[in-house]
């Protein structure tokens, strides 16, 4: 049991190891990716068929399209993001992970993985949504800022809730019920900022709200990670 000379890794390297492991698992099994993209594709097809480019008067399009886009992103995320910690319990690997890594490292790594997954969903579904509904985005840069800020908040809260519900019964129902009140304060400014982005405006106030939400959610998740995952 002699100790060998080894390099020590910092917080971010350890979190990235968790993220890389999740990515490797997902790329080999493709459970979350397949279900998320299938859900997104189905929802876009149904929305474009039901609403279509001409189903709405021009003055209503920005508001309705922005709402539909975030409903689509939220439910696509709700299909895949909660698997972050649930999968650890399903495979029985949670015990080994709890033995070696603190909850905050695991939460950070899984949040980054979920954020990348969310960005991949958005990168495919937003252009498809815009093309099928002939929705012109006045300020793509503003929309990108909304997607980034909204996506980070959604990823942090979803991942944290995933840690909380991982060992509970009826996890999927519980996730949707618990996430709704926590994510409404994120979704409302995200929709407002998306409406403005489609009109070509850079909506500072909703973006500031999103930024503040992201900061508060990240701090709360950091402080409560151990209690949620280890206890």
């Amino acid at each position: 049991m002699s100790r060998v000379s080894v390099g020590r890794l910092g917080f971010f390297e350890r979190a990235l190891a968790v993220c890389a492991k999740d990515a490797a698992q997902e790329l080999r099994r493709r459970v979350a990716i397949a279900s998320v993209f299938f859900f997104a594709a189905t929802a876009i097809a149904l929305v474009s068929y039901a609403v279509g480019p001409f189903g709405l008067p021009p003055e209503a399009r920005a508001g309705v399209n922005a709402s539909l886009l975030w409903i689509l992103l939220f439910f696509s995320a709700a299909t895949g993001l909660p698997r972050a910690f649930v999968r650890e319990e399903e495979t029985g690997t949670g015990l080994a992970l709890r033995k070696l890594a603190p909850g905050v490292v695991v939460l950070a790594g899984k949040t980054v993985f979920n954020f990348v997954l969310f960005l991949a969903i958005a990168a495919l579904s937003v252009p498809a949504f815009a093309i099928l509904l002939e929705w012109s985005i006045g300020s793509p840069a503003a929309l990108a800022a909304v997607i980034l800020l909204g996506g980070w908040g959604l990823s942090v809260v979803s991942t944290f809730l995933s840690a909380l519900i991982a060992r509970a019964g009826q996890r999927n129902v519980l996730f949707v019920v618990v996430s709704f009140p926590l994510l409404v304060p994120l979704l409302l400014p995200a929709i407002a900022a998306t409406v403005e982005a489609s009109r070509g405006n850079f909506a500072a106030t909703p973006l500031r709200v999103l930024f503040a939400y992201d900061g508060a959610a990240s701090c709360a998740a950091y402080l409560l990670a151990s209690a949620a995952w280890e206890d």
Binding site: M1, G7, R14, A20, K21, R28, G92, A96, L100
Partner: protein
């Protein structure tokens, strides 16, 4: 660097019924302590409590080096543990699993080092995903996991379970070597093929402890 000292102080555990075990106390600096008892006596739970993976209903565990109690983070790397409910990522190979766990614990993972650790437990097929492993191969991987961070103390729950004769001899060798340099706690229903323990703690209605050598 001095060896670790494991102190169990009046540990009790109960779930919803009567206590699983009560007032378990011992101090172990070096050598092998075997925890025995009938099925359901609480051997696995006691080892999880010592490893920091479960909480006792009352009492506490103190793990110290040269009088200084280790922090939770230090205990993660200083105390090796393996038990029957330890699972691995089925999509990843044994080498990828061990590499990930080392990095998640904050240590670098070099391929040669990982392969040497797998060779030491008799796993020589690093290319196969763990989902294709036999029961015995999974048990060998559990032993490699317990020793992954070169721990100062080792807790092994039924370490010979599912192993063939070669595997049992190899693990008995690991246990003997670990007991020579630090504390080892074994939970086992059958001690026949394990190195003779220095002390035996029998969990039951009365937790009795006796030395054997």
């Amino acid at each position: 660097m001095g060896s670790l000292r494991i102190e169990a102080i009046d540990l009790s555990k109960s779930f919803s019924g009567p206590p699983l075990f009560a007032e378990v106390s011992f101090i172990l600096d070096r050598g092998i302590l075997a925890v025995t008892g009938r099925n359901g006596a609480g051997k696995t739970t006691l080892l999880k409590i010592l490893a920091g993976l479960a909480r006792p209903t009352s009492g506490r565990v103190r793990i110290a080096r040269e009088g200084r109690e280790l922090s939770i983070d230090e205990r993660r790397s200083e105390v090796g543990w393996a038990g029957p409910d330890l699972s691995f990522y089925p999509e990843l190979t044994a080498e990828e699993n061990l590499g990930f766990f080392r990095r998640a614990a904050g240590f670098t993972a070099q391929r040669d080092d990982l392969r040497n650790r797998l060779d030491a437990v008799g796993l020589r097929s690093p290319g196969a995903a763990v989902e294709y492993f036999s029961t015995g191969m999974r048990q060998r991987l559990r032993i490699a996991f317990a020793l992954l961070l070169d721990p100062g103390a080792v807790l092994l729950d039924e370490p010979l379970s599912g192993l063939d004769a070669d595997g049992r001899r190899a693990v008995a060798g690991f246990v003997a070597a670990a007991g020579d340099s630090g504390p080892v706690v074994l939970a086992a229903t059958d001690l026949a093929e394990l190195p003779p323990p220095d002390r035996v703690l029998e969990l039951g209605t009365r937790n009795t402890e006796h030395g054997t050598r």
